[in-house]
């Protein structure tokens, strides 16, 4: 249990990388990149977790009454999720441009076009 969440995060990251490398469709590749991103979220939040802790949000509990988990990693993850979605959108826009210019979104065929 001590390292299981970290190992799972590493596994998700490697799975995403495998999908990226073997993808035959650029939209699918963007989806795999999203999987890779989620691995970093799992890792960061696992690092910040504390046994028996609760969220450091004091709207419904008295400060100091319960142990709390690390808020810094949560803040990092939280902004990255939304910003990551817009970056995904940017990549998808690039894919649409490629489809328009080259008529295909298969990376292998694109390489052949380049010559």
């Amino acid at each position: 249990m001590h390292v299981l969440p970290y190992l799972i995060a590493a596994y998700i990251f490697l799975t995403g990388c495998y999908g990226l490398a073997t993808s035959r469709n650029l939209i699918h590749a963007v989806g795999c990149l999203a999987v890779c991103q989620s691995a970093t979220y799992v890792l960061l939040l696992a690092v910040g977790y504390r046994d028996g802790g609760t969220a450091p949000v004091f709207s419904d509990m008295r400060p100091g009454s319960r142990p709390v988990v690390d808020p810094v990693v949560q803040a990092l993850t939280l902004t990255d999720i939304v910003v990551g979605a817009t970056v995904t959108a940017l990549l998808l826009a690039l894919v649409l441009q490629i489809a328009k210019r080259h008529g295909t979104i298969d990376p292998d065929e694109l390489r052949e076009l380049r010559g």
Partner: protein
């Protein structure tokens, strides 16, 4: 004993991530990705990060699938309008 919940959700997330990579058709992948997004939100709740869970829910349940499906539709439409006789 409270580790059981963490382990269950972590294993589910890992399985969903594998499935998302294994689906080669982007539309089917978008379905799995939206499932993965909701599941990640549950994992973040279990890891006591409700703010992050909210963020993941907002993005993963509707926004990312919509973006991917719109891209798929655009690419398919291009294919159709070129192959078709019109």
């Amino acid at each position: 004993m409270s580790d059981a919940l963490t382990v269950v959700v972590l294993v589910l997330v890992a399985a969903a991530a594998t499935a998302a990579v294994a689906q080669r058709d982007p539309a089917r992948q978008a379905l799995v990705l939206s499932f993965l997004g909701v599941l990640l939100a549950a994992l973040f709740t279990v890891l006591q990060a409700p703010d992050v869970g909210l963020s993941q829910l907002a993005v993963g349940s509707a926004l990312t699938p919509l973006l991917i499906m719109l891209s798929v539709r655009k690419v398919r439409r291009r294919g159709r309008s070129k192959e078709g006789p019109e």
